[in-house]
Amino acid sequence: MVVIKRNGRVAKPSTGRKKIEIKKIDNKSSQQVTFSKRRAGLFKKASELCILCGTQIAIIVFSPVHKIFSFGHPSIEAVINRYLQGVNAEPHQQNMLAQEMESGSSNIMDTASIQALNQQYDMTMKALEMEKKRAADIRGESGMMTRLGFWWEERIDEETIEVEELEQYIFAIEDLMGRAAMKADDLMMRAILDGPFPTNGVPQNYGIGFGPQSNQFL
């Protein structure tokens, strides 16, 4: 069940880039956070290098809690093998090793599964863009959020609000609260009588939001 706990202000995203010194991070949890982010970024860049420039790469990283992360293109084993065999090899031997590797390596990006995953990734990113746009629309559109509820907060700050107005608002909220609570109780009783609430993890049957008819009340 999705229960909305926040007070209507959208959680602040991270504060943005800051220039940091390259030396060991003291705080253990900052270190772990940094590690996770940078490790992910590093793998992403490695992935891009391979796709764009047709290179082969192996990256091995030990985490602060001694887990071992690796990325390899076409595969970590293939590249490691090539490296180990080549450690003492002469240039002409390197050549031979390289040619051994060529077979079946550069076509990895053309496999059906990767194509499908790429498409799925693009689609999901588009979906995210769409949701972001919707959120921005709701917030910006006709200043709905600002116009509706917050005007009276400003007026309190400016000391221009009348006693009666504030009273009225409080009264209206109390009234709404009472009616909503009654309705909630009623629905809950029915739900208990009708049997367990059907859910499959992601809530599907909301009256508000989560669907093409979201904002139906606006």
């Binding site: 992935s47 764009l52 047709g54 091995i60 990283v61 970590i76 050549n95 995953l117 009256g207």
Partner: protein, 183 residues
């Protein structure tokens, strides 16, 4: 570097080589940074398209060979637990993005609820607008109303300080009459 690059092999040789140089150096730098910042061992082994050159190897907190052998000596299970290739990377990104989409949807729903609540308060909606909702909706609405009520209380406190004692009022017990009488 501002425009998006298509995720495919770069056609022009010169562009590809230039890109390779830049990106390779960037990766090597980042391996060193990661190692220093987080005090961990890390290495990268890069084979360019030039077949006669050996690999470009960079390592932090250890020798690349050392690190590779250490990796080799792990059990297969430990190796695989965080082993990524292009496919697994994509799957990872997809699941992360899907979570973000869900979070955004929740944000939007919250905003819808708040808008709906304020519209009701300003009399822009008929008072039975929540007849068609489910109890999950109602639970969320109650939460939102409650939070608003708390904010109103806070506002009232602040306002009381500003306006002085003769305008003092109390939200507890709906004592609106007391409010007008300046209790």
């Amino acid at each position: 570097m501002g425009t998006k690059v298509k995720r495919a092999l770069i056609d022009r040789d010169s562009s590809r080589k230039a890109s390779y140089k830049k990106r390779k150096e960037s990766i090597q730098r980042k391996v060193l940074e990661l190692g220093t910042l987080c005090d961990v061992s890390a290495c990268s082994i890069i084979y360019g398209e030039e077949e006669t050159i050996g690999p470009e190897v960079t390592a932090s907190n250890g020798d690349a060979l050392e690190i590779v052998l250490k990796f080799r000596n792990l059990t297969s299970m430990r190796q695989r637990s965080f082993m990524f290739d292009q496919e697994r990377l994509l799957q990872d990104w997809i699941s992360k993005t899907e979570k973000q989409v869900l979070r955004k949807k929740i944000d939007i729903r919250e905003m819808d609820l708040i808008c709906a609540m304020y519209q009701e308060l300003e009399g822009l909606k008929p008072t039975n607008w929540f007849d068609g909702l489910t109890w999950v909706d109602m639970a969320d609405i109650l939460n939102v109303i409650n939070l608003t009520r708390n904010r109103v209380n806070q506002m009232q406190e602040k306002w009381r300080e500003v306006a002085g004692s003769e305008l003092a009022g109390s939200i507890v017990g709906n004592n609106h009459v007391n409010c007008a009488q300046g209790r």
